[in-house]
Amino acid sequence: MHRAPSPRAVEPTTRHHRTASPGSGLRRRLLAALVVIPLALAAAACGDDDGGSAAADPNKPVELSIFWWGAEGRAKLTEDALALYTKKHPNVTFKKTWQANQGYFDKLATLTAGGDAPDIFQIDDNYLTEYASRNVTLDLTSYKDGGKLDVTKFPESLWKYGVVDGKLAGVAFGENTQGLVFNKTLLDKNKLPAPTTGMSWADFITWAENVSKTAKVPGTQDPSADYKAFWVWLRQQGKDLYKDKALGFTEQDVTGWFELWKGARDRGATPTADVIHEGNVTDISKQLVVTGKAGTSWVWANQMPELKKNTKDELGVIAYPGDTSAQWARASMYFSVFRGSDKKDIAVDVINFLANDPEAGKVLGTDRGLPSNMDIRKAVSESVTDANMKQSIAVENELGAKFGPSPQVPLKGHSKVRSELIKAAEEVQYGRQTPADAAKAFYAACKTAIGQA
């Protein structure tokens, strides 16, 4: 803070600037930044629509970002398949990111909000409608029609399951079915019969009760909080989870579902509420059937290998109880292209490669479900040596043959419906609400979630 030397030599013209307080220029600039930066962010978030320009020069180096969820095994397979693509197109490299299912969609939403979504990302039907209806995903219809994206070898229901509001929002990467997994070792040890496909819900619960009594392990995880079990059960009554833009069931249906399982719990066919809760919130590796806390778990059949990895016991899998034609083969996962990507054409080509190239198909195997491309599915089934994968294919083929047509793709708000079902079912499981009260609350919450007032 030294004394300043005489400053009077300054020309009067600049006086205006001088008298302004020292920070004002900066302040003005900060103010400008305050206005400009959000605008810039917004502009970035909008992305540009004229993708494909990068394809003008086919040999120009391109780096595509790709993001998926899964365990390390899937990461290895996916990386190997992508390496194949790079081998054929040396100018294309990948920025690969993957993580566990938990938190995946939070991160994807955050990246998307920042206008920085990956060029290619994995998605499933829980969120496909959310993303498609908000125009995050690129409409692939024109690529499909133009032959750049080949789905001709796909079962029709499978690729159509990626259509939201008339737009092809994602390419199905696997076919998957509901499966009731049981602990074979446990049953054999206690000389108990295995459950069978086609048994009624009442028979199944009686069977589970019997397991609880004899094996001293609860016969089945209580699936009342499990949306897919609820869904199958609804379809067996001629209802559905969604019908057009509304719910496809009534409050009474939910009450009936909760009462069915309250009865099962009262008879000791299922574990206590706290153990059920553990099964409800953990990932696949801690399902009750592998932690030894229940004789059966309600899963997707492609999760079998992951389940096996976590137990020494032998596992078997059958369809859910009741009429099997209410079950359906579901597109287990999709790959979608970000609408704001500036490398759309290449991204679509990569997806096309992963879905249809025989070599890539062999590498990817059944990790995301049975391959969508029927030729590849056949080749993989014939050549596969991995025992888990082999069983998984056999099971899916066997179950799949008995199943009915797919329901419509879940509505926007589906993930909320799922979490509300867990909450309502647990209210009943912990004995805090009657089935009717919980059903009422759940029904109201569902209507809000899907915007059906």
Binding site: M1, A4, S6, L34, I37, V275, S419, K423
Partner: protein, 324 residues
């Protein structure tokens, strides 16, 4: 902060526009240097605090859902705020859970911290080691690892129940029981009393020994000394810790998130305000609504702090006896 660098030199000079203009050049240069040195902090403040905050204030009046383009955002006025207070039962549930958590965990944590600080204020062999050990849980802070350990300690087969079974007590599935899950989180919060404890210790060291000597000459026993000397002398530190820990308590997130796998369960028993906010914003993609919740939260915490400060007048004593 930047402003305080410049002015002092001015004082002796005659006031008036001429002299102000006179010091303009170098002063300006000094200011520029100041801003240059400050710029990393300023950029951080703007980029990751101020602008996002202003944006979120704006977004709280919109239906922004994180995925839609900014340009398509619709202004909905006070709808988000109205919905929060009148049409969202989960909101009030989360408020109740959070208030319950803060009301119970914060006083207990402070009491534990003070108690242990009093013990560790005594001179005995190895006191340094004990101070370190007691501070350790605090260092682990809001870590995810710690919350996972907690889950495994307090489930049905956990270490805690094994311990109870030694005494023939059948434990509960604490973390999986909606009646106990929140209490388990409280215990976790209380256990991390290290930070306020260290501050209490520092405060205790500041109390002049003469006061205790005088008190004991007057025949005051230990309890009386605590009431008449320690507490009043320590009250500014208690106040400081109370404010800090209250804010902390209301912001509880990590442990609840990990324990419930991000759901707030079992049956919403651990649905803390911040967790609810996170779920609304990131899982249900209602960013506008979540922003509104965040602003109400900010105002609520500010109000609570103001209330604490206003009560401070009645019980916080500063050594110099001045009113604050």
């Amino acid at each position: 902060m930047a402003v305080s660098i410049a002015p002092p030199a001015e004082v002796p000079a005659a006031p008036g526009p001429a002299s102000r203009r006179g010091r303009g050049g170098p002063r300006r240069r000094e200011n520029i240097a100041g801003y240059v040195f400050l710029s990393p902090w300023l950029l951080g403040l703007l980029g990751i605090t101020a602008i996002p905050m202003l944006l979120s204030l704006y977004l709280s009046f919109t239906n922004y859902d994180a995925l839609t383009d900014f340009s398509a955002v619709e202004w909905v006025g006070f709808d988000n705020y109205r919905k929060m207070f009148t049409a969202d039962p989960s909101y009030w549930h989360a408020v109740r859970v959070t208030v319950e958590f803060a009301l119970i965990a914060v006083p207990l944590k402070l009491a534990t911290a003070l108690g242990v600080a009093l013990l560790l204020n005594k001179a005995f062999k190895g006191v340094g080691l004990f101070r370190g050990l007691f501070y350790l849980p605090s260092l682990l802070g809001g870590s995810v690892a710690l919350a996972i350990v907690w889950v495994n300690m307090f489930n049905r087969e956990g270490a805690f129940n094994s311990l109870l079974s030694v005494f023939g007590i059948h434990g509960k599935p604490w973390v999986n029981d909606p009646d106990w899950a929140l209490e388990t989180l409280m215990v976790l919060a209380i256990w991390q009393f290290g930070a306020p404890m260290v501050i209490f210790l520092a405060g205790l060291k500041q109390i002049p020994v003469e006061l205790y000597e005088a008190a004991s000459v007057d025949g005051a026993n230990a309890w009386r000394q605590f009431r008449a000397v320690t507490l009043p002398m320590l009250s500014p530190v208690i106040f400081f810790n109370l404010v800090l820990e209250t804010i902390n308590g209301f912001q509880g997130f990590t442990s609840a998130f990990v324990l419930s796998n991000g759901t707030g369960g079992p049956v919403d028993s651990t649905l803390m305000y911040s967790l609810n906010l996170y779920i609304k914003g990131f899982t249900e993609l209602q960013m506008g609504y979540a922003s509104a919740m965040a602003w109400v939260f900010l105002v609520a915490i500010a109000l609570i702090t103001v209330v604490l400060f206003s009560t401070g007048r009645f019980w916080v004593h500063y050594a110099d006896g001045e009113e604050r």
